[in-house]
């Protein structure tokens, strides 16, 4: 997930907080009140949020790359326009989220530098390549689908600016999911070549999509605190189950096979049983060993470095304008 805790470490609460303030804060959060930038908050809450929101923002930005890979090759004008609009939305999401994180006392440049230095994480899912047009369908349907599942509850997360950013973002995500499913649907109704591409994309994206929800609950050390702070509202395993339950019938409806021999409807639970995710692969991708992790980072770093002179020029021009204005007054 864009927001899942990828540090894998238990976050130490090092700062000794004023117990009275802390109790008042905990009570407000437990009461589902919003915490606003000017409100007192424990340092660990601020740090966790900065990490989570910036990681979410980075995921939106890096997430532009795998789909951007197909914009110039989209199969018709309508699909091209939809894909540009979709990727543009993701950039907009990054923008809202960076702004939300900035209210916690960190600048966008600092966050960007942390990403480029490999210190900040982003969703593991974007370190997989997009090989055929069907991957664009699979990403919209599965990846945005998984993102929605995580983000809908975050509209009620405890930090006000983050919750409001999520409201704007969620409005757009359902369109992303639909256009992806529509691509898959069209391809499954198409030629044998198209069906082959669609099934191949399904085979490659299914497991990484399940990994988006993060490690299993028993290996997710910070879940409890995040739930208490309303930074997270459902556990990784709960969300993963929900995703499998919703997505499996969608796959079957268009003739796609879910690549999991253990997948089986469990009437007693009213849910699907499914196989074990390859967690070794997940942790490797978190460590930065995903198939195209280096390419993704290189693309971001290149864009940033190649664009430095443009940003410098804009800043220099704005400063000249401002001082000319002051001089004129």
């Amino acid at each position: 997930m864009y927001t899942t805790d990828l540090t894998g470490k238990k976050q130490a609460e090092t700062v000794a907080e004023d117990p009275k303030k802390l109790a008042a804060f905990e009570a407000r959060v437990a009461n589902d009140e919003f915490i606003e930038p000017k409100d007192w908050m424990p340092e660990a809450y601020r740090k966790t949020l900065i990490r989570q929101i910036s990681q979410h923002a980075h995921s939106e930005i890096v997430g532009m790359l795998p789909e951007g890979n197909w914009i110039t090759r989209a199969p018709n004008l309508r699909r091209k326009a939809i894909l540009i609009a979709k990727v543009q939305d993701e950039g907009g999401h990054g923008l809202y989220l960076y702004s939300a994180a900035e209210t916690l006392g960190i600048s966008r440049d600092e966050m960007t530098e942390a990403l480029h230095a490999g210190k900040a994480k982003y969703s593991t899912i974007f370190n997989y390549p997009t090989l055929t047009w069907a991957d664009i369908g699979a990403i919209g349907w599965l990846v945005d689908g998984a993102a929605i599942m995580n983000q809908v509850p975050l509209q009620r997360t405890s930090y006000g600016p983050y919750a409001r950013a999520m409201v704007r973002i969620c409005k757009e995500e359902s369109f992303h999911q639909r256009q992806g499913y529509e691509i898959m649907m069209a391809m499954m109704a198409g030629t044998p070549d198209q069906q082959r591409m669609a099934q191949d994309a399904m085979n490659r994206w299914w497991w990484p999509a399940l990994m988006m929800f993060g490690p299993p609950d028993d290996r997710s050390p910070n879940t409890e605190q995040s739930l208490r702070w309303r930074i997270k509202r459902e556990t990784n395993d709960e969300l993963r189950q929900k995703f499998v339950d919703i997505t499996t019938p969608q796959a079957e409806a268009i003739g796609l096979k879910v690549p999991d021999p253990a997948l089986k409807w469990n009437a007693k639970r009213g849910s699907y049983d499914f196989g074990e995710v390859d967690w070794e692969e997940f942790y490797a991708v978190v460590r930065g060993e995903g198939p195209v992790a280096k390419e993704r980072m290189q693309a971001r770093v290149n864009a940033w470095e190649d664009g430095a002179w443009v940003r410098d020029a804009a800043r220099a021009h704005a400063e000249k304008r401002a001082s000319a204005k002051v001089a004129a007054e």
Partner: protein, 244 residues
């Protein structure tokens, strides 16, 4: 194709090829805000292309639709001007191309809104607002880059110098334009004023006069267009007849 259909085709091809070029920036622009505004322009242009190519297909006789025209023609049948197919280069090149073209396109569409051909007027009425924004965006960046730093100024000068030879072609009139009832040559003085005003604000000199490079309207393009098309048309050509 008759003259009116060809007019629609030219308008569509200009927007399509420039939209395709701009969309190459997606995810790679110098700043997030720039990424979003370039994507915006690309979207507008793809939308215009869809309308004009659709119209060209109708006028031609309803055999080819917008997608067929966009995806199933080869270089010789593309009628866009050479300016729009120029490679993105650095950001200054992209801006120089946009600056010269959008200022022309805005004047052209403004004129077309009064066309006696209602369908052209309708499309132009919506598009002229979009293009006015593109022209403003590009002109603002010409000023920023021209005025910004020594490096940005040097790059902006080089980019204008690169693109300048393709501007004459924009104003060439032939029987196709005559049939549409728009005098492109007459747009030039207004275009010159706009270009000069922005260059003056940026303290940049107008590139020296030079022989214009032409041929796009007749299907004689630069070497780049074939590469652009082979990328854009790859799926339609590899899987003919498939619906996506």
């Amino acid at each position: 194709m008759d003259a009116l259909a060809t007019s629609a085709l030219r308008l569509g091809d200009d927007s399509l090829v420039l939209g395709q070029r701009l969309s190459e920036w997606c995810g790679h622009a110098p700043a997030l805000e720039i990424d979003l505004s370039l994507a915006n322009c690309a979207l507008d242009l793809i939308g215009q292309a869809t309308h004009f190519l659709g119209l060209a297909g109708e006028l031609e006789g309803k055999v080819r639709d917008a997608d067929t025209l966009a995806y199933r023609r080869d270089v010789m049948d593309f009628t866009n001007c050479l300016l729009v197919e120029q490679q993105n280069g650095d950001f200054a090149h992209t801006i120089a191309r946009q600056f010269l073209f959008s200022n022309y396109q805005e004047l052209l569409f403004a004129g077309l809104t009064a066309s006696k051909h209602a369908r052209f007027a309708e499309i132009a009425a919506k598009a002229v607002k979009e293009v006015a924004y593109h022209a403003k965006l590009a002109s603002d960046w010409v000023v920023r880059l021209g005025d910004g730093t020594d490096e940005s100024r040097t790059r902006m000068i080089a980019a204008l110098d690169w693109m300048w030879r393709f501007s004459d072609e924009l104003f060439v009139m032939d029987e196709v334009d005559a049939a549409l009832g728009i005098d492109k040559a007459a747009l030039r003085p207004a275009w010159d004023r706009r270009i000069d005003a922005a260059l003056a604000e940026a303290a940049l000199e107008r590139p020296s006069p030079r022989r214009g490079v032409m041929g796009g309207r007749a299907g004689h393009h630069s070497e780049q267009l074939g590469h652009l098309l082979s990328e854009m048309q790859f799926l339609q050509r590899s899987y003919p007849g498939a619906t996506w």
